[in-house]
């Protein structure tokens, strides 16, 4: 292959629990999903027919976008020029209320992606899908899959049952640190809470807009609860979060921390510097300013070239054409985001499978 370029966010699609996942469920759950018709767990966040959920040229006939391995290989590798890609499965296991069912579906998803995707193409890697509804079961699932180095991160939703910094999740981060698995927070909601503080929006467009705020709330939660003090080697990757909100968000976080740090004395330095050290962000969508100067200014304001990770968000329709790199990015950012930053962020990402 000509160039190394690691795509940190692509989305293979699960057809359903009674179809795709059935062979990977144990007898109890096989019987349950069939007899109770437990299926159709595509997240409300991504209705498959919505334009954002699949670029027109990446939609297989008769299946969901991302459901056809051959098509994903053609799009993500041949067309967009990635040499490796990290699969993040967004089927609804993370939103199930029953913790045992959630755990069973997460296992099935992980075993399915290993057997039918990772084993079929040595360029593919995957995130471990975990049931954060029951952190002890999430740790079990990480332990179960950690021996397989093709799993390079832990995938959770931006909007789950509680904010991610809370203490009951810390065993998950202990396991993450132990196995060098960054925590990948991906856009998507379990719909436990309104998508934002203002309530339930009318449109998918509003919902998608406010998802960027959920990521910001998660960063604040992780910082102020003291997760990075407790787990200094933990990295967190924001996936499909948008990027250009970072500067103003960091300014406000710094200002608020200066004023109110008395309530979180364990946070001993400015949030922005913690963010630059621990938070990474995929570059689709970027949500760019309209001109080159604006893009350069935003990158300068963010103040780090280590945070950016190349990603196409395949098959989501974030851009047209064959170039997944947002326009006008300075060259030093482009060169780091495709290889160096992903390798530093995902230490298990050994390029030779």
């Amino acid at each position: 292959m000509a160039v190394t370029r690691i795509d940190c966010d692509i989305h293979p699609a699960v057809g359903g629990t009674r179809t795709t996942l059935l062979p990977y469920l144990d007898d109890h759950w096989k019987e349950q999903v069939v007899s109770r018709a437990i299926d159709g767990l595509d997240l409300t966040s991504y209705p498959p027919n919505m334009p954002l959920s699949g670029r027109p040229d990446w939609r297989p006939k008769g299946g969901k976008p991302g459901s056809d391995l051959g098509m994903v290989q053609k799009g993500a590798f041949d067309q967009l020029g990635a040499s490796h890609a990290i699969c993040n499965v967004l089927y609804g296991a993370q939103a199930v209320y029953d913790p045992y069912m959630a755990s069973a579906f997460c296992k099935a998803i992980n075993d399915w992606i290993a057997a039918e995707w990772l084993s079929a193409d040595s360029r593919l890697r995957a995130s471990i899908v975990v049931p954060m509804q029951a952190p002890d079961l999430a740790v079990e699932e990480i332990e179960r899959r950690a021996g397989d180095s093709r799993f390079v991160s832990i995938l959770v939703l931006a909007q789950g049952e509680t904010l991610l910094g809370r203490r009951h999740f810390w065993p998950v981060y202990q396991a993450a640190e132990k196995y060098q698995l960054p925590l990948a927070i991906h856009a998507g909601s379990a719909y436990r809470f309104a998508p934002s503080s203002i309530g339930w929006p009318s449109h998918r467009y509003e919902y998608y807009f406010v998802e960027a705020q959920a990521f910001q709330a998660q960063i604040l939660s992780l910082i102020y609860e003291g997760v990075f003090g407790k787990f200094p080697n933990l990295k967190v990757v924001l996936m499909e979060s948008g990027v250009t909100w970072l500067p103003a968000f960091m300014w406000r976080a710094n200002k608020t921390w200066r004023g109110v740090r008395v309530e979180v004395p364990w946070v001993e330095r400015e949030p922005a510097s913690i963010i630059r050290d621990h938070i990474r962000v995929t570059m689709q969508p970027f949500d760019a300013p309209p001109d080159r100067t604006g893009v350069e200014d935003v990158v300068d304001q963010i103040g780090s070239d280590k945070m950016f990770l190349f990603a196409s968000d395949y098959p989501h329709w974030q851009f047209d054409g064959d170039d997944a790199i947002p326009p006008h990015l300075p060259q030093h950012i482009v060169s780091r985001m495709c290889v160096d930053n992903p390798l530093e962020t995902f230490p298990r990402l050994k390029l030779a499978a």
């Binding site: 604040l220 200002k255 300068d300």
Partner: protein, 370 residues
């Protein structure tokens, strides 16, 4: 640490001949005591207030859900020597804020007895009327610099319209205030009658941070700390900007002016970029939008500046101001709250005299027809 700082008002503060008289779009007057409202409140509701208190979607009756960094969120040097809470003594407000900063107009934002979020709608209607009358009697009529807003509980639209009409007849109020944490996102249809009336009356719609809408302060749930909750105010304002724009409120009410108060303005540029970026993809969902979202923002919305962002590099603040647009910014101090912005020092980047004049005075004079 003592609860109160007895800080002398410095000579240079008292006498500083500021080069520019300012319009301060966010000043918080406070009740000296709830009994101040009695003259405006029917006996039944006085008794209700004493017996049941206000009913808000929050765990405590005596304080905010997230303990603030200072008593009742205020500057420690803002407690009037005459007693009562900060913001309750006009003479002291004049001495500490209005006079030394040469405030030409100060726009009142009342947060006492948070009328916007009262669960008992009849009680809410009674106290919103009392608060609106109190603003005139205790403040605007006593100091011509101070201007009152019509506070209305947005979730009882019928009562809100009646109160707007009652107040508007006086000709003394300069905007209509609702809360950004309402039962539903503010773009939704149930609130349109308020916008229609605001447009008819030519009064801007003011949306000041705060409220108890019942939803978690973040889309990921309830945070543990005030530092998280405090920052969520900016998210609330950005979400409301998206709701109002995407539901087509400016498209449906083309003469409506909307002022976002105490949300700061750091988040606005990226909010416009994000809305514009995804407009093409979602256009078929919102065919009522005729223009790109940022175009509506740049014509219909204004933003008060406090709490102003403080990037490490002055040029970054400058870039931000240019992205948002000088025309959109209205200076505000948030007196007497702890995160008050001082008009002399708030903008840590050079501004030309023309720019300064717009932000500190003429933009607000135009929006509010002062």
């Amino acid at each position: 640490m003592s609860d109160v700082i007895d800080r002398p008002i410095l000579e240079k503060e008292a006498t500083a001949a500021t080069r520019l008289r300012i319009v301060d779009c966010d000043i918080h007057p406070s009740l000296h005591s709830r009994a101040d409202l009695n003259e405006f409140l029917p006996k039944r509701w006085q008794e209700h207030l004493k017996t049941y208190g206000d009913h808000l979607r929050t765990p405590y009756i005596g304080t905010t859900p997230y303990p603030r960094s200072s008593p009742i969120i205020c500057r420690r040097d803002a407690w009037p020597p005459t007693g009562g809470p900060p913001g309750s003594d006009l003479a002291f407000m004049r001495k500490q804020h209005l006079d030394p900063y040469d405030v030409e107009f100060g726009i009142l934002q009342v947060l006492d007895l948070f009328i916007f979020s009262q669960q008992n709608l009849e009680f809410g209607a009674a106290i919103q009327r009392a608060i609106n009358e109190w603003q005139l009697a205790f403040w605007a009529h006593r100091d011509p610099r101070l201007r009152a807003s019509i506070l209305v509980g947005q979730d009882d639209t019928v009562a809100a319209l009646a109160e707007i009409d009652r107040c508007a007849r006086t000709g003394e109020y300069i905007q209509i205030n609702i809360s950004p944490r309402a039962n539903e996102p503010l773009g939704r249809r149930r609130y349109w009658p308020i916008y229609e009336r605001a447009q008819e009356l030519g009064l801007p719609l003011g949306i000041h941070v705060g409220g108890y809408g019942g939803h978690a302060p973040t889309g990921g749930g309830w945070p543990s700390y005030y530092c998280e909750e405090h920052q969520s105010n900016a998210h609330t304002m950005a979400a409301q900007l998206a709701s109002l724009v995407i539901e087509g409120v400016p498209e449906r009410f083309p003469a409506l002016k909307i002022v976002f108060i105490e949300g700061g303005f750091g988040w606005i540029a990226s909010a416009m970029w994000r809305m514009d970026q995804h407009f093409a993809r979602f256009r078929s969902e919102v065919p009522h939008l005729k223009r790109r979202p940022s175009e509506y923002v740049k014509e219909h919305f204004w933003f008060t500046t406090q709490p102003i962002d403080e990037p490490d590099e002055a040029k970054h603040l400058r870039q931000l101001i240019e992205w948002v647009g000088i025309e959109r910014l209205l200076f505000s101090s948030d007196y007497p709250h702890w995160d008050y912005d001082d008009a002399r020092f708030a903008f840590k980047t050079p501004l030309t005299e023309v720019e300064r004049k717009k932000i500190f005075s003429t933009n607000a004079r135009a929006v509010y027809k002062l």
